[in-house]
């Protein structure tokens, strides 16, 4: 078969396309696998549970993550007896090791251990209120004493058992702990359970048990989903762009070969089919390796995401064959589409072009290239206008679209600007022979230079866009935070999810204890505050529910208890930030305190798991956590896309240099020294990187201007465009170093 022979014969030349495809499919597999794995999972502690019965779930928008509603133990016990079920009563419990809170874990009663098939590995189940069963990784043995933090405060327990699960198990629960679910084991029919519980409870079975995931994990997962979706969109774009660009580049490089085949009788259609078959053959093998690499890489990236805090610790990669197959087929389809488009140009190669050894392309721009470029530019401008008037949620999408369209437009139209740019860039060197050669090469081979610069363009544009977008956004939001705190020092959690009651009791000040209560099934955020004397609601909330001063509302609190609270005050929204404010002592003791605004003279030694911050530090820390997440997000995106595009930079430069070895040989024969050749290639690489970087910056500047306009519009104040130049400098330098490594090093030494 001709295509197979051609693949074999062109093995070296096809290597570039092979690498591009391999990268693309790796990236697609990786993100697709992670995306599919990011679906909620059944918590480990329910892994052996057949059916779980829970209170009716909260009715809340899908991007908010309120606590799960609970029953009181009294309420749930009767139902549990009917179902022969176990009460699941998760509560806060954290061991203290060497004076420091250990990695947060949850507490539960030993009775619930069966729901997750947790078994004692040594010792015996906790038999009294002073005993605890601990997971093996805590490093404690039965008989040891261990300090454990629960909502009331620290307390010493005797380790009665070590088990193979993840939680701390006690005989009892702390006071006012609610029941999250009733777990039923064994061979039970969910429908039968439904018949028993009626419409007053929710029955979950199988994968539905994932609904019992802690809200914090669900929220992290949601953030992770945003990250992964962005990663997915970006990698799909990068993969398609790289594969299409590389394939059309390889077609460009093989003009002579195609002309020759045309001259000895290949029809244009035959050439196209040859190219297509070749592309599919390459894609089939490169894609297989790409999928394998993606499968290997997914857990690595997954654990990075966990470390970065954008996926919960329970995140594991699920090796679903569907995303792998999809990535594989996408790779083949993209390669086929990319080469099909490029093949039209190849097939138009006149037979006589084979006879002309010289490379000068007289018409770098074709009509279809003009049309495509102008069309993409128009889409980019439209998306830019949309960015400028978009809301905060849709802005990144539009900004991304703007950048993608502009990247495509720029790389299609760049053959027009390459010759003048090369002239300007080489002006200082134009007197030397090498300078002259570089300038002429870039000018006569505008297409090749543009194609080689495309991955650099992509790398620089995206680094600058993503980091610039984040930096501009950050400087915009900085303008908005400047509220003064009513205190000089704040007591906050340190290595724990919140402050225990013992810590709060030892530190006089204003206690902030946010929680969730339920009005029927509607979750309401409530701030428990020691400054408030009675139930205070915001005007908006009051209007929504028809509440007035003196109205009595029945609510379910975190412990599952029903309470009747009488409204004492209705205040403007800005004075009741969460909408509802109650005295801190009304919040169930199972809820942890978020912060204590310390009284001026009240700063004492903070207790276990707490630290004192000055007010400015506190404000900064709150932002810092937010910033950290955003920057992590940014780094993941830039790192991933940048890593792949850098390889692509090396790849195309290697292809370009290899394609020119003949030319370089001619130069050698004409009297150029090896050093001159090396300098020539290095200078050409530098010009390519400079052109790519310049065009990339133009693209990113366009998108950033749109973002700045959008932010200014949203905030009603002028926002400066902030560009992290050092990051971009590093990116360009990396491109340069990679480029040199790929183009100069492979040259023959002598």
């Amino acid at each position: 078969m001709l295509s197979l022979a051609s693949v074999k014969a062109n093995r070296v030349r096809l290597l570039g396309s092979f690498v591009a495809l391999l990268l693309g499919v790796t990236m697609l597999t990786l993100t697709a696998l992670l995306l599919v794995s990011a679906k909620p999972q059944v918590p480990q502690r329910f892994s052996a549970t057949t059916v779980a019965v829970t209170p009716l779930p909260a009715q809340a928008p899908s991007d908010t993550f309120p606590d799960h509603p609970r029953w009181t133990i009294a309420e749930a016990t009767a139902l549990a007896e009917k179902l022969h079920g176990v009460l699941d009563t998760p509560f806060y419990a954290q061991a203290v090791i060497d004076g420091k809170p250990a990695k947060a874990t949850a507490g539960n009663t030993w009775a619930t251990a069966v729901l997750g098939n947790t078994r004692v590995t040594s010792g015996s189940a906790p038999a009294n209120a002073d005993e605890v069963a601990v997971p093996a990784d805590l490093g404690r043995q039965p008989g040891d004493t261990v300090t454990i933090l629960t909502a009331p405060g620290p307390r010493d327990y005797r380790v009665s058992a070590v088990h193979d699960g993840t939680e701390l198990y006690f005989r009892d629960v702390p006071p006012e702990t609610g029941v999250l679910a009733i777990g039923v084991l064994g061979d039970v029919d969910p429908a039968a359970v439904k018949a028993i519980v009626g419409s007053q409870a929710q029955v979950l079975a199988g994968s539905e048990l994932s609904a019992l995931e802690p809200p914090g994990d669900a929220r992290t997962r949601w953030i992770g989903m945003q990250v992964l979706t962005a990663m997915g969109a970006l990698s799909a774009f990068v993969a398609v762009f790289l594969v299409a660009a590389t394939f059309s580049f390889s077609v460009l490089q093989r003009r002579r070969e195609f002309g020759l085949l045309r001259a000895v009788g290949a029809t244009p259609g035959q050439l196209r089919r040859l190219l297509l078959r070749e592309a599919v053959l390459v894609a089939a093998s490169a894609g297989a390796i790409g999928v394998a690499l993606g499968v290997v890489g997914a857990p690595v990236v997954g654990s990075l995401l966990i470390d970065a805090g954008v996926e919960p610790a329970s995140f594991t990669v699920r090796y679903d064959p569907l995303p792998m197959a999809a990535a594989y087929l996408t790779g083949i389809a993209v390669a086929a589409a990319g080469v099909w488009i490029a093949s039209h140009r190849a097939a138009r190669v006149r037979p006589l072009e084979a006879l002309r050894v010289a490379e000068a392309e007289r018409r770098p721009m074709t009509r279809s290239r003009w049309i495509g470029g102008v069309l993409a530019a128009a889409i980019g401008v439209l998306a830019g206008v949309a960015t400028a008037s978009a809301d905060a949620l849709s802005m990144p999408t539009y900004a991304g679209l703007t950048a993608m369209a502009l990247v495509v437009a720029m790389s299609l139209l760049s053959p027009v600007v390459v010759p003048p740019l090369a002239r300007v860039l080489m002006a200082p060197l134009s007197r030397s022979a090498v300078g002259l050669l570089v300038r002429q090469n870039a000018a006569t081979a505008a297409r090749r230079t543009a194609a080689t610069a495309a991955p650099v363009l992509l790398t620089v544009a995206f680094t600058m866009l993503v980091t610039g977008m984040v930096a501009t956004g950050a400087s915009a939001y900085a303008a908005r935070r400047a509220d003064a705190l009513p205190t000089a020092a704040v007591l906050v959690a340190d290595g724990t999810p919140g402050l225990t009651q013992a810590v709060v009791d030892g530190s006089p000040g204003i206690v902030l204890k946010p929680t969730t209560v339920f009005l029927g099934r509607e979750p309401l955020s409530v701030m428990g505050s020691s400054q408030t004397t009675g139930l205070t609601v915001s005007e908006t909330l009051a209007a929504k529910h028809g509440w007035k001063w003196g109205s009595t509302v029945e609510l379910t609190v975190a412990s599952g208890a029903k309470v009747q609270w009488t409204i004492q005050d209705v205040l403007p929204d800005r004075e009741v930030p969460l909408g509802v404010q109650v005295p801190a002592h009304l919040v169930p003791p199972s809820v942890l305190t978020q912060a204590v605004y310390l009284a001026a003279d009240g700063v004492k030694a903070p207790g276990l798991g707490a630290k004192v911050l000055s007010a400015p530090d506190y404000a900064a820390q709150a932002d810092a956590e937010e910033d950290r997440l955003v920057w992590t997000f940014t780094l993941i995106l830039v790192g991933m896309a940048g890593g792949f595009t850098l390889i692509a930079v090396a790849n195309t430069l290697l292809m370009a240099t290899r394609g020119r070895l003949n030319d370089l040989l001619v130069l050698r024969k004409a009297g150029a020294t090896a050093g001159q050749i090396r300098r020539l290639v290095a200078a050409e690489t530098a010009v390519v990187v400079a052109i790519g970087a310049a065009l990339g910056m133009v693209v990113a500047t366009g998108a950033l201007l749109a973002i700045r306009a959008g932010l200014s519009e949203q905030m009603g104040l002028p926002v400066p465009m902030t560009v992290p130049w050092p990051t971009i400098g590093v990116t360009v330098a990396l491109c340069l170093v990679t480029g040199f490594a790929a183009s100069v090093l492979p040259l023959p030494r002598r």
Binding site: L261, G265, L352
Partner: protein
């Protein structure tokens, strides 16, 4: 097969006129040599006549069919069925062996020649044992003969050869000329060598894109003398 050129003009850009209204006719079974100074348009004439390039003006008619109306694919099909071409620069595919290069046109046309035929065709041009060598392993003259074999194996009705003996010694050159003379097809050959041209039935002289003269079958000396006077006049 008869080929007819009617006022064929070929320009490159605005400045270069490689052919300027050339008319010529090559009758079935004849052997024509085209001569002329370097840059006079010989290769261009051959390319246009063979349908490898399209003229800027004028018409080329092969066997009664005008090439002007043919699509690129139609042109390719016609070429590969009826026309053989030996390029001035031999243009072998460097990744294929001599045998594979020879087989390539038939392979592309979907009727791969049997190994025996490839061997015998290579033997015809004196390269019996070089089937498995790559172009880089062959001398210039040997490459030229592989290119000739590649044209011969398609059994074309018309064969164009652009300086087929440019890289050959006089003995090998003679062999190739006898081959072309006896080849059962219309043969059109460009050459600078009066000895080679003396094998042809007639010689056309080209100068500066114009057909300036025509000689009937002549001796090498007569052709050389004619060439000398022509070159002196310009």
């Amino acid at each position: 097969m008869t080929i007819e050129l009617r006022s064929v003009t070929k320009t490159y850009g605005e400045k270069v006129t490689a052919l300027d209204g050339v008319s010529a006719s090559f009758a079935e079974g004849t052997f024509t040599a085209i001569m002329g100074p370097s840059g006079s348009g010989k290769s261009t004439l051959l390319h246009c006549a063979a349908g490898l390039d399209r003229p800027s003006a004028g018409e080329i008619i092969i066997d009664g069919v005008s090439l002007t109306g043919l699509s690129e694919t139609g042109l390719t099909l016609l070429r590969r069925q009826r026309v053989g071409f030996v390029f001035q620069a031999f243009n072998l595919v460097s990744s294929l062996t001599a045998a594979q290069n020879v087989a390539l046109p038939r392979h592309l046309a979907g009727n791969k020649p049997p190994a025996k035929e490839i061997t015998s065709t290579l033997a015809q041009v004196g390269l019996a044992s070089r089937e498995s060598h790559y172009p880089s392993e062959l001398s210039g003259g040997e490459q030229q003969r592989v290119a000739l074999a590649r044209a011969l194996i398609t059994r074309p009705a018309v064969l164009f050869a652009d300086e087929p003996t440019g890289a050959l010694d006089s003995k090998t050159s003679r062999g190739v000329m006898e081959l072309l003379r006896d080849f059962p097809a219309t043969v059109v050959m460009v050459t600078h060598d009066p000895v080679a041209a003396s094998y042809a039935d007639r010689v056309l002289l080209l100068s500066d894109g114009h057909m300036v003269d025509e000689l009937a079958k002549s001796s090498a000396d007569a052709i050389a003398a004619k060439m000398a006077t022509m070159e002196a006049s310009c």
